[in-house]
Amino acid sequence: MRAAVAVFPGTWSDRDCEWALQQVGIVSRRVWHRDVPSFDRDELVVLPGGFSYGDYLRCGAIARFSPLMAAVRDHATAGGLVIGICNGFQILCEAGLLPGVLMRNSSLEFRCQDSLLRPESRISPFTDHLDPSSFLRIPVSHGEGNYYVDDVTLHDLEAEDRVAFRYVDAQGNLTSEANPNGSRNNIAGILNEHGNILGMMPHPERACEALLGNEDGNAIWQSVLSSIGSD
């Protein structure tokens, strides 16, 4: 499979995503937000981390108007895979492709540290080959990752198995110490109803190599490859 990595003005995880995908054998191209592409149906579209347009307004609030996002919406509607990481997750929420918002961390500080994720969902290629009892150590790096959603939508997300990951401690408990940003019910990532759009705050692309001391993030790409096939 191939991937297309979106580059908005202010995106900075584009090269890291490209690098990480390469580690698992996925070839990717970087796409500048004005060069509106048509994505291949089997292309994985990645909205990486960064501070699109500086995020001086609400994070992702400007990027959602970018010409590229119309193409992303079309791709997702046609059932194509889309993953938004960090700022990419914020953009997906702002664009209405995922429910909820990402508020300022409850600590009111930026946090760059490892988090432990428990895979939760069976409905998505991003997660269905992950072992729920095997937690992934994935770094977070954000100031606004505090996922908030209203009670009704939260109930639906959980009932429909659309919570992709939750922050847990080493024993798998949902503690506030394990939660780096104060998100509701320790949510780290969520899916749309069809499971083809994933938004997550932690950065799997930073956990991609033994040299960097962490390869846990590769499991997510491997899950996609196992589900879709690697051709």
Partner: protein, 736 residues
């Protein structure tokens, strides 16, 4: 014709300097000319009081690719066609009055220095000093500076991987904020900052020009007084988002189209003035600028204001005439404004017009020839007074455990995690050794190599004996680099001192420069870039002399890098000095300074021995004997060992070691040239000892990594207890 004192004060020019200027140009300068010359003759740009000392520094070496002072930063060869550029710069005065913006602009400025050379920035470091956190103003400054550094680095996507922070009363109200940046790239992509080729256009790219930062260079060159707050308009406001676009565009230009341009230069202190004049001076050309062509964000700005504005996120590009359109298009594709504002000339003059009116017309070599005032120092009497103190009279400690816990919680030693978790230290996927150890280590993508980077300066040692203390700063920086397995290659320095017109400060400055030169020569690490920040004084006095050292080392095979985390069962050795220490090793130590509440003693450094020890450790790395290594510095052996235990979450069994007659000196003394090394097995331990014996390096077994207690002589503390005070020390102090 007489110029008002007020006008001279604005540009921090003395009447004698004004008269020198009049004599040089044979007439009275115009207002704009006075502004241009005043800014470039300021201490901040012209190094009036420090320049005469720079010839002491060794600046050349086989790995050095740039001539010092001729480019925005120093470049060194990494081998295989790769090079690294790096520089450290101060942003002290702005941070004292507007900590967030002051620190953030410091980061933005040093980043531009690096990508102006065509290299991609891969790491930021910050060397910080504040007054004690018991004071609310110092807490405000600390929080603002940390937020500003994070705000810029996190947004632009360059990892903040290291640095240091220390607290001392002398920095109250005059914090130090020194930012360092490292970039890497292919050597053939290195760009120059010169304005060659008369007829080539001058293109200003990036932000519009506003009134922010006017006289910033001047402000950085005077003491802070009660009116400093009124200087807030001299501090600029940042836009890291725009700088991210500039960074990408400049790197793309260097990597893909270096042949389109003759020069690229950032706009820093004194803005358009210094960037154009310095670029012309490097090329031996002239420049003509029309300020009417400069895009502005405010109305009715005068030519004077446009020339001296320090609005951030601007660069000057000097394309070849025939590639002007290519260059304009490249920047515009990145959604960056780019305008032609003038041209390179062949007349050796800097000419500024405002439309049809000529407002300045000066030979380039007038502003670039500031007066020079060699410092005339007299040794401060307090140095001899401090050194005369008989440390034998200090009673030895009775409760080493309590002393250890106190030191672990001390703001100068406690874990810095509280700070670096607010900085993105991983973006770009190169950070192999993360913050919290000795040097940070970054992989160089596309090669097998890595760079180790660190900043260091123990200002207490510099205060006690400036020449020795400055040499220690270099030696310690090198030790941090060596601990990871990297070979120290070159140095950037940031000379933070008080008012050089005072004889005591002049002495500190002269001696510190000599000390840096001594150590750099001995260690084979030339000074490739740097900056001086003088006048760091408040009405309460001057700062401790703080010649910050940024060091870069190279590791040829990144897979060979090691950290300061031993494994269970490892044997720990102290090398470079005996375990037993004389009471004189307490000189300037954190332990003694906290105990007495003042400086005392005389620090010593044997450079020949230092070099031998570092060579030995690198040799042991090469043989693959080491499983971990750590520099033994602040807080002495007990802190170095505890830090290794806390990093690995493993205790140490060293209860039976012989600490000699002075327990305080053995545990907490800070004698130089020491490492703590870890090896896996008995046979490796025997090899290590044998190797040390052959080169006469003292080596002593400390103990075995095991269990969950730190047992070191009479110390017996559970790791959890040590971790609690160590990890919360800084946060507790900040809580006030």
């Amino acid at each position: 014709m007489t110029v008002e004192d007020r006008e001279l004060d604005q540009v921090a020019m003395t009447r004698a300097e004004y008269e020198r200027l009049v004599k040089m140009i044979g007439r009275v300068p115009t207002e704009v000319e006075l502004g241009i010359v005043g800014a470039l003759w300021s201490e901040h740009c012209g190094y009036k009081h420090s320049r005469s000392l720079f010839h002491h520094f060794p600046t050349e070496g086989v790995d050095v690719l740039t001539k010092v002072g001729e480019e925005n930063a120093g470049a060194v060869d990494l081998g295989d066609g790769w090079c690294a550029v790096f520089k450290m710069e101060s942003h002290n005065h702005p941070s004292a009055i507007e900590p967030y913006q002051g620190a953030a602009t410091g980061v933005g400025g040093i980043l531009r220095d690096i990508f102006a050379m065509g290299m991609r920035p891969i790491a930021l470091l910050d060397s910080l000093r504040f007054g004690p956190l018991t004071d609310a103003t110092n807490r405000y400054l600390f929080n603002g500076v940390v937020a500003g550094i994070g705000g810029y680095g996190n947004c632009i996507g360059v990892p903040t991987v290291g640095g240091e922070v220390q607290f001392d009363e002398s920095y109250s109200g005059n914090p130090l904020v020194n930012a360092m940046c490292v970039g890497v790239g292919r050597t053939e992509h290195l760009l120059s900052a010169s304005a060659g080729g008369p007829g080539n256009p001058l293109v200003l790219v990036g932000a519009d020009t506003g009134r922010d930062g006017i006289h910033g260079a001047t402000f950085a060159s005077v003491e802070l007084d009660e009116s400093a707050d009124e200087r807030r308009p001299a501090v600029q406001v940042v836009n890291p988002f725009l700088e991210k676009l500039l960074l990408e565009a400049c790197v793309e230009l260097a990597e893909g189209h270096g042949d389109w341009i003759v020069g690229l230069q950032d706009l820093g202190a004194a803005g358009l003035t210094s960037s154009t004049v310095e670029a012309a001076a490097r090329a031996g050309t002239g420049v003509e600028i029309d300020v009417a062509l400069v895009p502005r964000r405010e109305r009715q700005m005068t030519a004077y204001e446009v020339m001296l504005s320090e609005s951030q996120e601007r660069m000057l590009v000097i394309p070849k005439r025939e590639h002007l359109d290519d260059v304009l298009q490249l920047f515009r594709r990145w959604e960056i404004r780019a305008d032609v504002i003038g041209a390179v000339t062949g007349d050796g003059m800097v000419t500024v017009r405002d439309g049809d009116e000529i407002v300045a017309h000066l030979p380039v070599d007038v502003p670039t020839d500031p007066p020079m005032y060699p410092p005339k120092g007299i040794r401060p009497t307090e140095i001899d007074h401090w050194q005369a103190e008989n440390l034998e009279d200090v009673p030895d400690l009775l409760d080493p455990e309590a002393a250890l816990l106190r030191l672990l919680a001390d703001t100068n030693i406690a874990s810095r995690r509280f700070i670096y978790r607010q900085y993105d230290h991983q973006v770009l996927n190169n950070t192999v050794i993360k913050p919290g150890g000795d040097a940070a280590v970054l992989r160089v993508k596309g090669s097998r190599k890595g760079v180790a980077v660190t900043t260091d300066c123990n200002a207490r040692f510099v205060g006690l004996e400036p020449r020795v203390g400055a040499a220690i700063a270099v030696a310690e920086a090198a030790r941090n680099v060596v601990a990871t397995g990297a070979r120290p290659v070159a140095v950037t320095d940031c000379l933070n001192f008080g008012n050089p017109e005072k004889v005591s400060v002049a002495y500190q400055l002269e001696q510190a420069v000599l000390g840096i030169a001594d150590a750099c020569r001995a260690l084979g690490t030339p000074v490739v870039s740097g900056n001086a920040s003088l006048y760091n004084e408040t009405p309460d006095g001057q700062i401790l002399p703080t010649p910050g050292i940024g060091m870069l080392g190279v590791i040829d095979d990144i897979q060979q890098v090691i950290g300061a985390k031993p494994k269970a069962g490892d044997l720990l050795f102290v090398v470079g000095a005996t375990l037993e220490q004389d009471v004189s090793s307490l000189a300037g130590s954190q332990y003694l300074t906290s105990k007495l509440g003042r400086l005392a003693g005389r620090p010593v450094l044997d450079l020949e021995h230092e070099v031998a020890v570092q060579r030995f450790v690198l040799d042991m790395h090469k043989r693959g004997l080491l499983s971990a290594a750590h520099d033994c510095s602040d807080g002495g052996l007990a802190i170095a060992v505890s830090e290794m235990c806390l990093a690995s979450h493993i205790g140490i069994e060293a209860g039976d070691i012989d600490l000699g007659t002075r327990m305080d000196a053995a545990l907490f003394g800070e004698s130089q040239s020491r490492f703590v090394l870890a090896v896996h097995s008995e046979s490796e331990a025997l090899q290590l000892e044998a190797q040390a014996d052959t080169v006469d390096i003292p080596i002593t077994l400390v103990g075995t990594m095991t269990g969950s207690r730190i047992r070191l002589g009479d110390i017996d503390v559970h790791l959890d207890e040590a971790e609690l005070v160590y990890s919360s020390g800084l946060e507790k102090a900040l809580a006030g």
